[in-house]
Structures are given as C-alpha cells and as structure tokens.
C-alpha cells in the first residue's frame, strides 16, 4: 500500500516536471486579442465569411487580413465594437440575402408525374430530374429549410421557401443544399430579380408553368440601356441596383419580380 502511494507520487512528479518544462519551451505566443475578438463574434461558425469558423475569422481580423463587416451574422453595433477594439475600419457592409430563382410553386407549375420515395429534394432530383414538368424548378421538399442553420427558411403553402431577410445571414448553406442550384446571394438593396431559371422559351415555357419566363425580352427592352441582357432564353441582370421598376411592368408572367423584404409570403392559397 505504502509502496503504491509512493509510486504514484513519483509518477506525478515526473509527469508534472515534463509538463512544466514543455510549457516553458514549447509555448506558442498567441495574440491575446484573438480570444477577445472570437468572443465578440456570434460563435455560430456558419462560414458565411469564407472562413472555417469564428475563431479562424478572428485570427484573420487580428492580422488585418479581413474586415469586421465580413461577418454578416453580427449586428452592426457588434461589428463597430470589434472595429473599435482593433482600431480598424469596419469595412463596407453589404447585407446579402438568399434569393430563389423560381416562382413555380404548387398550383403554378405543372407536375408531370408523382414522386414517391425519400422525401428530400436531393433524392427526388435523382429520379428523372424530379417530378415537375419544368426540370429547373423548385422541388419543394425543403432541403434548404433543413440546411438553414438560422431557421431563416420556411416553406409556404405553395411549397416555396420563404427566406426571412432579417434572419438570413447569407451563409450560403441553402445555395449548396439546393440540387437545382436555384439560390443565389443577392444584396438586399437590389430588388430586381429574375424568378425563373428555365431556358425554355415561348409556348414550351408557358405550357408547364404560369410564372415562367418565356424569353419575350420585354424586360430587357424596358430596363434601360445596359441593365439587362438576354442569355439562353433568360434575362440576366448585368448592372444591379435599380430604383425604377420599369423592367417588371410588361412582364406577362411575373417572372421578373420586384422583391423588397421577403421574397415569398405565407398566403391562404386558393386551389
């Protein structure tokens, strides 16, 4: 008994010595501000800033490789606080939100067939491209809602994802999750949106979806010089930030949308 106590004490002494020596000689000096800044960040590790996590972003901030406004999750006050603490410029803050390039929800876009199987968009997309007659359209099985870390996405009655602009941090998880690549991150100050991704034109487009872009090109003509161009049957916004709604006026289907705040709403649907 006495022997074993003695042995354990001896072992403790030996390892304790090794640890203290190691601490002295192998110590890595780290800027103490990193910890402070990391604590000031939201800690959600969402990756919207492009770094693997909040701490990595804090390191970038301290080494002046990034600007505090690069964190889209923090409130403006928090960003300013970090900027003041580090004595740097907060940087320009562009509020981005996830926007869906499809408006063809239930009752608007035609279903060519009925899908039965694993209830995710990713799975449905693998079976002949999904059940919608328009193969580019939103499948409505809520992979984006599941992927969203911030509960900013809710499916509405038309099975379209409603992105809450205040909750959306533009982390890009929904962009990755959507098998049809329908999401992009757009500045919230940019209300003009092409709400369709189908390259089909004319009757082929109209036959399968009431809100499809049929490539008529009126929006391009109305938007003014150099704002939009037609590419493969779809208008593309080349010069953002419009204050005039002119591009949307003559759109026959509403595919060219003017979106302020939430893109879709919860509505009582008339079937």
């Amino acid at each position: 008994m006495g022997m074993s106590i003695f042995l354990m004490l001896g072992l403790a002494l030996v390892f304790g010595t090794i640890l203290s020596v190691a601490h002295r000689f192998l110590h890595v000096d780290e800027d103490p501000r990193i910890d402070t800044v990391a604590d000031m960040l939201p800690g959600s590790n969402c990756g919207a800033c492009g770094e693997p996590g909040c701490r990595a972003f804090a390191e970038k901030l301290v080494s002046a490789a990034a600007q505090p406004a690069g964190c889209s999750v923090s409130a403006t006050e928090q960003v300013d606080e970090i900027a003041a603490f580090l004595g740097v410029d907060a940087g320009e803050r562009v509020k981005l939100v996830a926007r869906l390039h499809c408006g063809g929800g239930r009752g608007l876009a035609l279903n060519a067939a009925e899908y039965s199987g694993m209830s995710t968009c990713g799975a449905a997309a693998l079976v002949n491209g999904g059940n919608k007659a328009c193969e580019w359209g939103c499948l409505g099985l809520a992979d984006c809602q599941v992927a969203c870390t911030f509960d900013a996405i809710q499916m509405n009655e038309r099975l379209l994802p409603v992105v809450h602009p205040d909750l959306c941090t533009a982390c890009g998880d929904c962009v990755v999750a959507c098998p049809k690549d329908l999401f992009t991150l757009e500045p919230i100050s940019q209300p003009l949106l092409v709400q369709c991704k189908a390259p089909t034109t004319g009757e082929a487009a109209r036959a399968v979806c009431t809100v499809a872009c049929d490539g008529c090109g009126r929006c391009v003509a109305d938007a003014g010089e150099g704002v939009m161009v037609m590419e493969q049957g779809l208008p593309v916004i080349v010069q953002p930030l419009l204050t005039s709604r002119s591009a949307t006026f003559r759109c026959p289907s509403g595919a060219i949308a003017w979106v302020e705040g939430s893109q879709f709403a919860f509505e009582a649907m008339e079937v």
Partner: protein, 434 residues
C-alpha cells in the same frame, strides 16, 4: 440444376425472376414511322454533337445531321427522311432536357436509306465513329473509343457481353438468335481492331438457345461461355470475373487487366455499319412489363417518342403507371413520354403503380445487402453515412465503387431505398471534390 450450380459466375448478386419468356419467343418486329422525331444531341457519354443541318433543311434517312464534337462524342444521323423542324431544347429520357434536332417525317417518302456503300474494316474505329455507334448495352459510351488501344497497352481478350441479366429485357437475346453471323462477324472485326488474341461471348444459361446458335455459326472461331443466371452478371467487372477469373482493380478499367468488353448489340451495329454502310439510326427495344399485354421486341428508329412506341403496343391511357427506360433493376422512371428512344435504350417497361410497395421499415441490420453487393460494399453503412453526410467515411467505404446495380435495394426486407441513398452519397462525394 447441377449445370446451373457449376456454371462460372461472380460472388454475391441476386436472383430476380427473369420474366423474359413472353418477349423472348417473338421475332423482332418493326415500329412504323411516326410524324415527328427528336434526335438529342447528347445520347451518349461525352460532349454533345454539333448539328450540321439548319431548320428547314430536307434530310434523308441515314444522312449525317450532327458531327461528333470531340474524341469522346458521336455522330448523329437522320432516322427518317423529312424536314428539320427545329433545333431546340427537348425532353430526354435522362430527365435532363438537351438540345435536339427535331425532324418532321415525310409521309410520302419511301424511307430508303441514302446511298452509302460498305465502309472499311481496316480503320474500324473511324468507320464506327462515322456511323455514330455507341455501346448498346445501356451506358452508351462512344464505341470507337473502345476500339483503339492506347499506346503501350495490350488487350489479350475481347469479351462480348450477351448476358442481358436485367429481368424482362430480351433485345440482345433476339439479336443473337436472329443474327448470329452478323454478331460473330462484328466480333471478329472488333477483335482484329483491338489486336486481341481471343474473343469470348458470355451468355447467361437462360439463353442457351442463343449460345447454341452462336456456337454452331462460329465453327469454333469464337468461344461461347455460358455463365450462371444471376444479376448483375452483365456488369463488365462481374462478367470478366466469371469468364476470365480476373478482378478489375477498384477505380480501374477492364483495359487494365487486358480485356475490352463490348455488348453483342454493338457487334451487330458494327457489322451493319461496315458491311452495309448503315449508320446507327435504329435499335432493338424490348417493350415489356406487367402492364404490357403483348411484350415484344421492336426495331425502333432513334428519336421516336416513347408515347408513340407505347401507343403502338396498345398503351395510350397511362394513368397510374410507371414507365421505365431500361431494365427494372437499373432503369429510370420516366416523367415525360415525349422523350425519345435513344441509342442506349434497351427497353421500355410499364409497371402498374400499385406494383410498388413503398412502406419502409427500420433497418434490422440483417446483412442481406452485404451478401448481395457484387462490389463487396456495405450498403447499409453507406446509407447511414449518406444520411449523416460523412464524406470522408463515404470515401473510406469506397462509395464510388458502387455502380448502382440495385441488388441491395432488391434484397432489403425493410424496403429501404439503399441504392437511391448511395446514389446521393456518390453525388455528395463528387460535389465535395469540386
């Protein structure tokens, strides 16, 4: 029974009922010409073909209408004499619409082929490329690519795939029965082009009549190997294992073990192209399934809408049905019957929707899927890893080795869509690599 047990085969696999009897006995018929054809510019693996005709052009049956865009690509020919109506995005059996040349057939034309004499069998790869031939077994890989052996590699054996292990399908079976000489001649041409020492035709034992016919016609020049009736015997790697005992290393090609595998239907097409100068403008399609009253094989021009084909066999009201392109194990359900018959389409099957029992039970970890997987994977684990999106572990468990034969889903007593999930897992891994 003893004979079946002793036939060479691979390990694992499953035994679905073959359902071939009804369509195998009927001679191949001919699908009449319809009003409109849509020839997709991509019906093969590789780059899309480039159209060389314009809207309004009059084209003759067999005329070249689109050229191959790169080495791994194919030519396309007009399946019918008529007028080019449009070149536009059209539905495709894969579910992904592609650009297609739409031809309105000329109802008064005799549908004679354009003048084109025999081609050279000296530069076989060129002739085959000219004729727009792809692998007829389903994968639709441009055939000429597999006719030239890369520098520094040798092929000792040409293996012809006459297994047709998918239930219901009998198009290869009928071709072997009705055109044994053409199949053998095509095989000989391919063998010469590859410089292979031997060629073997692998035929499943449920087609012993075809094996006998081929043996009799070949007079010993080509050996016919009877293999066990088991799914997926017709998968390249499984056939090589069964006939030659060689195991293609994971992530490698048959060429790496000195073998090239072609489908017997491809041999037939090669023969037609060389001897008769006939490009690939039609193929044999098995139209079968529980909902088809008279299952049969038909010569169908490429580009024929599936709905027209089904109407021809008497199915025009398709409420609550599943229409499948390909076999019942690996085929794909169709949502748009305007999609055309393409070069790689071996069958159109129609199942009543009620046929599918979709109630899923929890995994009871019985291990049947492991015993079924011909690639010796662990499907139930891959299913779990896919759900957890664990890309690293998916790679460790060789998810990319899965060729989606569906044996795991077939045996699963809990009706878990294993292969569907693994397909998603493969996609996850692919996307992570980008």
């Amino acid at each position: 029974m003893v004979l079946i047990a002793s036939a060479p085969t691979f390990s694992h696999g499953v035994h679905p009922a073959d359902q071939k009897a009804r369509s195998a006995t009927e001679p191949i018929g001919r699908m009449p010409f319809v009003r409109e054809y849509s020839v997709p510019l991509r019906q093969h693996i590789g780059a899309a073909s480039e159209p060389i005709v314009a809207v309004g052009d009059i084209v003759q049956r067999g005329q070249l209408i689109a050229k191959r865009a790169s080495f791994v690509s194919t030519n396309q020919h007009a399946p019918v004499t008529g007028r080019v109506k449009a070149i536009e995005t059209r539905p495709h059996p894969s579910g992904v619409s592609v650009r297609a040349i739409v031809i309105e057939s000329d109802p008064f034309s005799s549908q004679q082929m354009g003048a084109s004499g025999p081609r050279s069998d000296q530069a076989l790869a060129d002739s085959v490329s000219d004729a727009g031939i792809v692998g007829m077994g389903g994968a639709a890989f441009p055939a000429h690519v597999k006719l030239s052996v890369p520098e520094g590699r040798t092929v000792d054996t040409l293996l012809m795939n006459g297994c047709e292990c998918e239930p219901y399908l009998t198009c290869d079976h009928r071709i072997m029965l009705e055109h044994p000489t053409a199949v053998l001649e095509g095989t000989a041409m391919i063998q010469t082009a590859l410089g292979a020492k031997a060629s073997v035709i692998g035929v499943e034992q449920n087609k012993s009549d075809a094996a006998d016919v081929l043996r009799a016609a070949s007079k010993g020049s080509v050996s016919v190997a009877q293999v066990a009736v088991k799914y997926p015997q017709g998968a390249e790697k499984m056939l090589i294992k069964a006939v030659l005992g060689r195991e293609v290393p994971v992530g490698k090609l048959p060429l790496d073990v000195g073998v090239v595998v072609h489908n017997v239907g491809t041999a037939f097409a090669v023969h037609e192209a060389v001897r008769l100068g006939k490009p690939l403008i039609e193929r044999v399609v098995t139209v079968s399934g529980p909902a088809v009253s008279q299952p049969r094989n038909l010569w169908v021009p490429i580009g024929t809408p599936i709905c027209d084909l089904l109407a021809f066999v008497g199915l025009d009201q398709l409420d609550q049905y599943i229409v499948i392109s390909g076999g019942p194990m690996m085929g794909q359900a169709q949502k748009n019957l305007q999609a055309p018959v393409v070069k790689g389409m071996s069958g159109i099957l129609v199942f009543p929707a009620a046929h599918q029992a979709t109630k899923e039970y929890p995994c009871i970890r019985c291990g049947r899927c492991l015993d079924a997987c011909p690639m010796f994977l662990n499907p139930t684990r891959l299913w779990l890893l896919t759900r957890n999106r664990d890309i690293e572990a998916l790679n460790q468990h060789h998810v990319q080795a899965c060729f989606e034969c569906g044996s795991c889903s077939y045996v699963c007593p809990s009706h878990i869509p294993l292969v569907h999930a693994i397909r998603m897992g493969k996609k996850l891994v692919r996307e992570a690599q980008v």
